[in-house]
Each structure stands twice: as structure tokens, then as C-alpha cells.
């Protein structure tokens, strides 16, 4: 179980639509440790080419009281910095932050895998790894999805966005195997349909939506999976 910090303060993160200067000072600060919670459901998402724009659009459509943690792996250059977080956060209705090791899962926030680490889900918190790239990717979408399926089984919702390879297909299959749900960005609307198509082939998911409907589906699905979020 996670230890509670002596003083529970909000973690440092990029608030929705924060100014550049405010962001710089926030990022330079050491954050304080948030309290742990037990999320009833967890959303995991992945994308690569075209994935940032897809994610931006998806996040802009989510309600600010989104009742689950939203964890995302975007394939990123290993030297990439906080620019990515700013870009994702630009129109997001949820605060966006980059994961540090053992960071607790919290509902209503977007958690982005740091460059050159794998992002894993464990019970109640994130874990990082520097194991070798999987299918040339680190962070790997498959690893995020598989670990989520292991930890949260039927309470996982996986989302596959635009991307240039088939990372995520295996992980999506595992999520389905363990009773979770997979939604896929409609390949015909994706900047790069390879990733969505691979996930579709691997899962035969019936939840294939263009981005503007994906947010609606997601909100409804969360109510179905977890009608009353755990305190």
C-alpha cells in the first residue's frame, strides 16, 4: 500500500491551459507527494505519429471531473523534454503531468510516460523501467497496456490512437483477454491508420470511433464500469 505523506498537498502538474512562464517555474519546482487513492477504473492510451494531435482533441472533450486516471504512452524521442507536456496540456480539460517512479494513480489527471522509460501500472501507482525497447519503442504501449490488464483486469479501458507501427496491438489483446475494453480511433480519421488497424485486427473491438465520439464513448463507459468512484 502507498504511504501517505505527512502533509497532503496537491502534486505539481501542468494545469489546463497554463502560461509558459508559469509552466517553467512549476517544472523547476520539486513537487510534493500526492495522497494515494484506489481508482475503480483506469484508462490507458497509446499513439505515435498523429497521436499527439489525436490526444489533444480527445482530452479537450473530457469532463474536468473525469472519474479515472488517464495514462498515456506516446512514442517520443528519447531526448524530448517538457514541450510535449505543454502541447498536450494546451486544450486539455484535465491537468497533465509526466510520471515519476511510484507516483500514485489519481483520477481526473493525465499522466504521460517520460521519455526513454517504460511506463507500467501497479496496484495504486505507476512504476517505471529502463528494460530494453520493445519493438523498438521505449516507452512501449504494449507494456503499459499489459501491466494495466495485470493490475486492473476488467476495470481497464484501453484507447489506441493514430500511429505508425503496431505497438499496442498485443497489449490491447491482453486487455480484452482480461475483461477490459478497447476503443480504437477510427483508422479512416487517423493521421496514420497503421496502429489503429493493428489493434483492430488483434481485438476485433467493436468500439471504433472518430475522435469527437471517442470522448463521449469514454465518459459513458466509465460510468458503466465504475458508477461510484472509490474514495
Amino acid at each position: 500500500m502507498n504511504r501517505r505523506p505527512k502533509k497532503a498537498r496537491n502534486s505539481v502538474s501542468i494545469p489546463a491551459s497554463a502560461s509558459s512562464r508559469a509552466l517553467d517555474s512549476i517544472l523547476a519546482e520539486e513537487r510534493t507527494w500526492p495522497s494515494s487513492e484506489c481508482p475503480g477504473a483506469i484508462v490507458v492510451a497509446g499513439g505515435s505519429r498523429g497521436g499527439v494531435a489525436a490526444l489533444q482533441q480527445l482530452l479537450s472533450s473530457l469532463p474536468p471531473d473525469f472519474p479515472a486516471p488517464f495514462a498515456v504512452v506516446l512514442h517520443r524521442d528519447r531526448t524530448s523534454d517538457h514541450v510535449l507536456l505543454r502541447v498536450i496540456g494546451r486544450q486539455s480539460s484535465l491537468p497533465v503531468e509526466e510520471v515519476t517512479d511510484k507516483l500514485p494513480l489519481q483520477s481526473g489527471r493525465v499522466f504521460v510516460a517520460p521519455a526513454d522509460y517504460h511506463l507500467l501500472i501497479e496496484e495504486g501507482h505507476f512504476a517505471l523501467s529502463v528494460d530494453p525497447p520493445v519493438r523498438w519503442s521505449r516507452p512501449s504501449i504494449d507494456l503499459l497496456f499489459e501491466s494495466a490488464a495485470d493490475a486492473y483486469g476488467p476495470n481497464v479501458i484501453g484507447i489506441v490512437l493514430s500511429g505508425a507501427n503496431d505497438d499496442g496491438a498485443r497489449g490491447a489483446a491482453r486487455i480484452s483477454q482480461c475483461g477490459g475494453r478497447i476503443a480504437i480511433q477510427d483508422p479512416s480519421t487517423a493521421e496514420c491508420p497503421i496502429m489503429p488497424r493493428a489493434a483492430l485486427a488483434a481485438t476485433q473491438s467493436s468500439h471504433v470511433h472518430p475522435l469527437d465520439q471517442l470522448g463521449v464513448w469514454l465518459a459513458q463507459e466509465l460510468i458503466r464500469v465504475n458508477p461510484t468512484p472509490q474514495p
Binding site: 504511504r3 517504460h118 517505471l128 498485443r170
Partner: protein, 290 residues
């Protein structure tokens, strides 16, 4: 439940589990077995990455199940050695996170310069990339001869590799960019001699390095250091083991000594967090308060 999967997914996934509950029990028994028979304690390693490595070992050893792997490891010490390697080896790059090395040059080196002799500890050094990166940096900063670098790892095989100073040549070429971005003052290839496939660091880079076996899970503090580096090692430990190791480091760092973590690690979970201040927060360089 039925799923339609690409045949290759089924083929290539590491050990498709039959029942996750069985697997959880088997994993627990594996860790208990290794601890009880061999005294090697993996019980507080971070579970997700540990399980992934275990499943890969099951596949590599042809064991079919985690129980099969335990049986092999208990009855065959060579299998056990391979299991330890499989569960603990981390391969990293030279000068991983060049910003860290830049920050180290800028913030830590000027202070180290004031000491007549300098002790550094690279904890969990694995195959040694970070140790040699540090040695090169210190040599360029003209501090190396005053330094003693203790490079420790739990695994003798991996330590031997680190001690040899020999690395695959292809990897070295990738690391050149990292070296330059870290503020490297020369050509990276100046530091090694190469044949067709391997690069060997010049032996002078090993003069001040002591390679020794040390297990962060079980062993005690053995010296006091000006700098302790433990980057992207503790991510493989669970929170309770991380606390143990933070305590171990705290016993091993003198006042005004430095603790360096990996880029996405944090000191916040340490029971001693209040006794350190961030010198370079985003590069995770901390200094123990006076």
C-alpha cells in the same frame, strides 16, 4: 473469454497465462524459494517489471510455467545464476541523460575540486556504462587522479564485464552523441581502442575504480562518500525496499555530500527527504544539508 488475435501475437507473447491467480501464487513461491534456498532476496522488487522478467526467463529456460522455473533453479545452480542475471541486469547507455552530466559538471564538480581526495559510489553499476562515463568526465575536469570510484553490483558476472572495460562497438557509436551533449571536451573515440566488433576503454580509465560486489537489498554501508549515484536502479524496487536503500545511502553520504538519481526518480518518498536540498532539481542532483 474469446478473443480474435493475430496468430503471431499468440506465438510471440511471453507465456500467455492460463490463470493470473495461479501465476501470482507461483511468482510468490519462486521468490520465496530463491530466498530460502539461495538467500537471494527478490521479494521486494517492483512487481510489474519483476513479473515481466520472470515470464521471459520461463520462456528462455523452456520451463512452461513459473513453477517449472523454480524447480529448475532449485535443482540446477547454473539455472539459478541465469535467473539472477535475468532478474537484475540493466543495460544502459554511456552518458544517458546528457543534461545530468552537464549539471554535474556545473554544480558538483566545482565543489569536488575543493577536496584533496574524493570518494564516489556508483551503486548498482551493472555493466559499467555510467562508471566509465563518470571516469571520463572526471578526467576531462582534471579531477580523476584525486578520485576513488566504488562501482558495486550484486552480480559477479556483470561486474567482471564492467571491470573488463570492453563494450560492443555498435553501442559506442550510438553513445557518441550523448557524450558530446554532456559537454564532452574531446572526441569520444579518443577514450577507447576498437577492433571490428568491440571497443575497449583505455586502462588508465580504470585506475581509480574499485569494482566490488554489494547487494543493496541486504548489505550495509561500507564507507562515507562525497557523491552517491544510483540512477534508474531503484525503479526496480518496491517502496519498502526503496526506503531501505535511501536509509543505506543516508548512512553513506557525508554532510554536503551529493545524491544523484535517475531523471524520472524522486527523493520525495525517502524518509530522509527533508535532510537534502535540490541542487539541480530536474536532473535529480541533491545535496545533504550541513
Amino acid at each position: 473469454m474469446t478473443t480474435h488475435m493475430l496468430p503471431e501475437i499468440l506465438e510471440n507473447s511471453p507465456s500467455v497465462s492460463i490463470d493470473p491467480k495461479v501465476e501470482t501464487v507461483e511468482l510468490h513461491l519462486l521468490l520465496e524459494g530463491l530466498y530460502q534456498y539461495y538467500g537471494m532476496d527478490f521479494r521486494h522488487y517492483a512487481p510489474a517489471s519483476l513479473k515481466r522478467r520472470v515470464l521471459k526467463l520461463v520462456e528462455d529456460e523452456g520451463a512452461r510455467t513459473i513453477s517449472g522455473l523454480l524447480s529448475n533453479a532449485l535443482h540446477n545452480p547454473e539455472c539459478f545464476e541465469r535467473v539472477v542475471l535475468g532478474l537484475t541486469v540493466n543495460v544502459t547507455s554511456m552518458f544517458r541523460d546528457p543534461d545530468f552530466y552537464q549539471a554535474f559538471r556545473e554544480h558538483v564538480v566545482p565543489i569536488l575540486r575543493t577536496y584533496p581526495s574524493i570518494r564516489l559510489w556508483v551503486a548498482g553499476c551493472a555493466s559499467g556504462e555510467e562508471v566509465y562515463s563518470l571516469a571520463i568526465l572526471l578526467e576531462e575536469e582534471k579531477l580523476y587522479d584525486r578520485c576513488r570510484i566504488y562501482a558495486t553490483d550484486l552480480n559477479e558476472i556483470v561486474l567482471a564485464q564492467a571491470k573488463s572495460g570492453v563494450f560492443p562497438l555498435a553501442a559506442m557509436r550510438e553513445h557518441t552523441e550523448n557524450y558530446l551533449r554532456s559537454g564532452g571536451l574531446r572526441a569520444f573515440s579518443d577514450y577507447y581502442s576498437a577492433d571490428a566488433t568491440s571497443a575497449a576503454f583505455h586502462s588508465r580509465l580504470r585506475n581509480q575504480i574499485v569494482f566490488a560486489r554489494h547487494n543493496l537489498v541486504s548489505d550495509a554501508s561500507f564507507n562515507e562518500f562525497h557523491v552517491v549515484l544510483c540512477r534508474n536502479v531503484m525503479i526496480y524496487f518496491d517502496q519498502s525496499l526503496q526506503q531501505r536503500v535511501f536509509g543505506l545511502f543516508h548512512e553513506s553520504i557525508g554532510r554536503l555530500g551529493y545524491l544523484c538519481l535517475g531523471k524520472s526518480e524522486s527523493l520525495l518518498f525517502s524518509p530522509h527527504a527533508n535532510e537534502y536540498e535540490a541542487i539541480a532539481a530536474s536532473e535529480r542532483i541533491y545535496r545533504r544539508k550541513p
